[in-house]
Amino acid sequence: MKLRILSLVMVCMLAVMAFAGCAQTPAGDTTPAPADDATQAPADDATQAPADDATQAPSGETIKIGGLAPLTGEVSVYGIATNNGIQMAVEEINANGGINGKQIDYIYYDEKGDSVEAVNAYNKLVQNDQVIALVGDVTSVPTLAVAQIAAEDGIPMITATGTSADITAVGENIFRACFTDPFQGEIMASYAFNKLDAKTAAILYNVADDYSVGLTESFEETAAELGLEIVAKESYTGGDVDFRSQLTKISAANPDVLFIPVYYEDAALIVAQKAEIGITATMLGADGWDGVLGSVDAANTDALEGAYFCNHYSPESEDEDLQAFIAKYKETYDADPNAFAALGYDAMYMLAEAITNAGSEDAQAIVDAMAALEFDGITGHIVFDENRNPIKPAAINTITGGEYKFVETYEK
């Protein structure tokens, strides 16, 4: 009798284990069927990802290109926009005959803004899906983690929006479509000094984030060169929501400008508290601020009034391709494109053009073609410097009356 009960228990446990195994498959998306998986991956609010993009590909030869983006989680706004931009580019390229007559099969995974998830997803792209090149990742920290392995594997990789200076330094095969953190810090310090007549500046940054630290360092360096005095430099760590202590100190130093090089969700919390403390300094931000208006309640948009931030492009530019992109993006996704979407779009086109120029799918040939690429995209004319960073000007934007306004393009 006892034995029978025991065996029954064992059977139950086995059944449970089998089910547990099943349940993990969709969650950890380990299925090798990339097309379905990929279109299911974004949460339903994320995109109206064209479900037929994979089925459009002819059954013959395709070029598999991998993608990584945070489609859920804290930085999902960036990931979704970037991925949408990439998908739009893929669709257009495929509609125009693909690359050297082959259709692009774009396989992407959600990495949730997490380095570990990003590396796992990368391994899956390379080992299971056998992609020949990678467009991604989106935010700096996971991008750096992925770049380190991609450099070992020699897979051509272009990040649309990873701005940390270190990313392209890890290997000859790593490129980016956006400008770097140091560049943005330099631009903002120089802009504050030359255009906003600032004499003193304060910085509030996230010490746990490479992006924020990188911008802070370059801002400080340029400020020192120019003679812009840093009167307060305060930091916080990831996950903090209370900035009153730091802001109280900054308020006491009474700076002309306050540089806040952080992502939009933190920026939204900081500006709300800044308004309460009563700091009147002009706020400066960087490309992480793109989307900040969406994270601030309508009643709090006053707190953002008069802030300046640099970005990769301005939607008000008169470039025809850019306007066509904006119109098409709005039509497809029912949302205004941001810089991330534009960069994702450009990054995919750059990679496609490099593969076309290379005339082969050999990794080294693609890397060489990338390095020699001269590209006119919607985010400007791009050539790569010796560190595989694009050379292009920054667009300065401001926020007035609860809207983004383009001020000018600015080169240091």
């Binding site: 859920t72 100190k249 309460e276 009643a299």
Partner: protein, 293 residues
């Protein structure tokens, strides 16, 4: 001047820690359970207020009441569904603890599923200009938070000390079996305690969301952890202890950020916790637990 402002900043954060710590303390006092889902009750309250205020467009007082009601229902519901059976069958305490962690993860994922994981901006409920007190600019929310917390603390102390249900709570916390023999309905007393703690957490969540106007499904976990530390620091099981612990944590955090280093703030707070526990293991105002043999 700046020092005073930092202390006031600390009092505000500390008030919220204290309100949340109370929930931990009362529940621990009565069933010796560290209710890890308590932090997530705050998140539930914040989303509740958001839905009523923004999605339904109802006035502020309705949102506050709805938030409190929702949290009380959630708190009592969690007790009935997840803990009550375990308690009544004298399950080992570790099972209760693991269940609490499970409930916490369940709530976080449920809300992530419903509202998405991206932060939602929370509207400011009280549009009042900062108040100038002798040259100090203090925001209305800050003053409201501190005043409301102190008033609630006094009311709670009276409730526990002077009313019949308060007496029942104390009796159950002293010895649940003996209380049962004296004709006290322990189950309803425990449910009341959970409801009361959750209601206080709802008030905390409304104040918190006004001070930091962004709500996410994970907002409760770090806040809950800090409040739990405040509860242990002040003395787990003691109501004035929760308040003292919360205020100490908030002020220490704020002063460390203001005068020593922002990166060290958490280290200093947890360092103080370790020192206090070494010197006085039951916390600052905690009862000395005597094991009955």
């Amino acid at each position: 001047m700046s020092f005073l402002l930092q202390v006031i900043n600390g009092l505000q954060v500390g008030s919220i820690y204290a309100l949340v710590a109370l929930g931990y303390n009362m529940v621990y006092g009565i069933v010796q359970l560290i209710n890890f889902a308590h932090g997530d009750i705050i998140m539930v309250g914040a989303y509740g207020a958001y839905v009523v205020l923004v999605l339904c467009g109802l006035p502020v007082w309705v949102a506050v009441l709805a938030s409190i009601a929702l949290c009380v229902i959630a708190g009592v519901g969690i007790e009935k569904v997840a803990y009550s059976r375990l308690r009544n069958h004298n399950a080992p305490r570790i099972s209760l603890l693991i269940t609490a962690i499970g409930v916490s993860i369940f709530l976080q994922n449920l809300f992530q599923l419903i509202f998405g994981s991206a932060g939602i901006p929370f509207p400011s409920m009280f549009q009042v200009a900062p108040i100038n007190l002798g040259g100090l600019n203090i925001s209305f929310v800050t003053i409201l938070t501190i005043v409301v917390t102190v008033l609630l603390m006094i009311a709670l102390q009276l409730l526990v000390g002077k009313t019949k249900i308060g007496k029942a709570m104390r009796a159950v916390s002293e010895d649940a079996d003996a209380a049962k023999l004296m004709g006290i309905n322990t189950n309803s007393t425990v449910a009341f305690t959970f409801g009361l703690g959750s209601g206080l957490a709802a008030v905390g969540s409304v104040l918190y969301s006004n001070a930091y106007p962004m709500i996410t499904p994970f907002m409760g976990s770090m806040l809950g952890l800090k409040a739990f530390v405040a509860a242990v620091l002040g003395g787990i099981g003691s109501i004035p202890g929760a308040m003292l612990g919360g205020f100490i944590m908030g002020i220490v955090e704020s002063l460390t950020k203001g005068y020593i280093s922002t990166q060290l703030a958490d280290a200093v707070v947890f360092g103080i916790l370790i020192v206090v526990l070494l010197v006085k293991p039951s916390g600052l105002l905690g009862r000395n637990a005597t094991e009955k043999v």
